[in-house]
Symmetry: C2
Subunit: 196 residues, 2 copies
DNA sequence: TCAACCCCTGAACACCGTTCAGTTCGGTAA
DNA sequence: TTACCGAACTGAACGGTGTTCAGGGGTTGA
């Protein structure tokens, strides 16, 4: 394959992932359809499959971008709270997580809604991105519980992430509990303050 | 409509919901298809729509049964721990929630995966069932925090439920990577013990 | 210039939930 | 018993998915 065609392929891949991201953001993961996407991109449906194995691969590409932005938002939050107490840093991270999910609900949902059981194992970058989030949580935790064994610290890290994730998930789900963002913030604060 | 036809209709509705429940349990919500279901039930595809408005209505019926069994399991757990501390009762309920989700993963997932945003409001029994779960949580909480205002207690109730739900959700999601139930139990214990 | 190559096209395929005209069946009145 | 009618049931057909693939057409290299 020549350089020119490679560049064209890359350009199409980029255009498709941007259009897909936009569509998921606006209408949710379920609203992303192959034919309208191709029309938006000015190509035929078949062209999508020269660039991505299937629609799931395209969604995973979108998720990669989303995870990157999410990680950046959380990291920024914990770094600007560098001089605060560990508990306050945990709360700052959780609030950043909440605000990202609240402002990018459909993209954030797509991170967890995408079907991955179909083919092989979870992509490595998925695990890496999650590991980055976890290490951000583990650090303040190890200050709060300096004597905790590594294994238990790891468990506690996952437990806290899962807790905050659950609060944000059900909080944003309007049909289950549907509460405004500041109430969700309060819930996160209630739980994390008890921990510290 | 005569009594006989009503009975026949009810019998088909029952048969369909049982077959659907079985199928979701075995293969997940996505594996429930109209045509195989009709074949299993010994009727034509169209007959399904004489009994249920659409497949979503059928799934909601299955979810109703699941929610009832889940509620019974949690209630039983909190009642057999009647003489324990409030924190222990919270942990007992959470463990019951975990075990139910672990042993009925696909049915439990269907409770949250079903699409309901399409049409009207959430069914009343959905809210009632959730309210029942919440009141089970609120009772021990009000013992732990007797001076807490009602509004904050309600928030804390939802926060705790969401936390446990998140831990169970993400814990079971990585079941393949080998996070056994007792580790999830430990995570729940870690978080709830800190609360009490 | 021109053949070999392969990207790109879009009709076609398999499968989905859902519909509906035609058929069959159940209940009821003659 | 018979005749009739409305409701239930049938299953092919409809509209909409994601995905495929033979063939047309642009790109490349000699």
């Amino acid at each position: 394959m020549s350089e020119k065609t490679k560049a064209r392929k890359a350009a199409l891949a980029e255009k498709l992932v941007e259009l897909a991201e936009r569509q998921i953001q606006l209408g949710g993961l379920a609203s992303l359809k192959a034919r309208p996407l191709a029309q938006d991109a000015g190509c035929a449906v078949g062209a999508i499959y020269n660039v991505y194995d299937d629609m799931t691969a395209l969604v995973l590409q979108v998720n990669g971008r989303t995870f990157q932005r999410l990680g950046a938002a959380v990291t920024k939050a914990v770094e600007s709270a560098r001089q605060d107490t560990p508990t306050q840093r945990l709360i700052a991270m959780s609030h950043a997580y909440l605000h990202f999910a609240s402002e990018n609900t459909n993209l954030w949902r797509a991170l967890f809604d995408v079907e991955m059981s179909a083919d092989g194992p979870v992509p490595q970058w998925y695990l890496d991105a999650l590991g980055g989030l976890f290490s951000n949580i583990a650090e303040p935790l190890s200050e709060i519980f300096p004597d905790m064994h590594e294994h238990e610290l790891d468990l506690m890290t996952r437990a806290l992430f899962s807790s905050v994730h659950g609060i944000v998930l059900l909080g944003l789900e309007r049909r289950i509990s549907g509460v405004p963002d500041d109430q969700i913030e309060k819930m996160i604060g209630q739980v994390l303050t008890q921990i510290g």
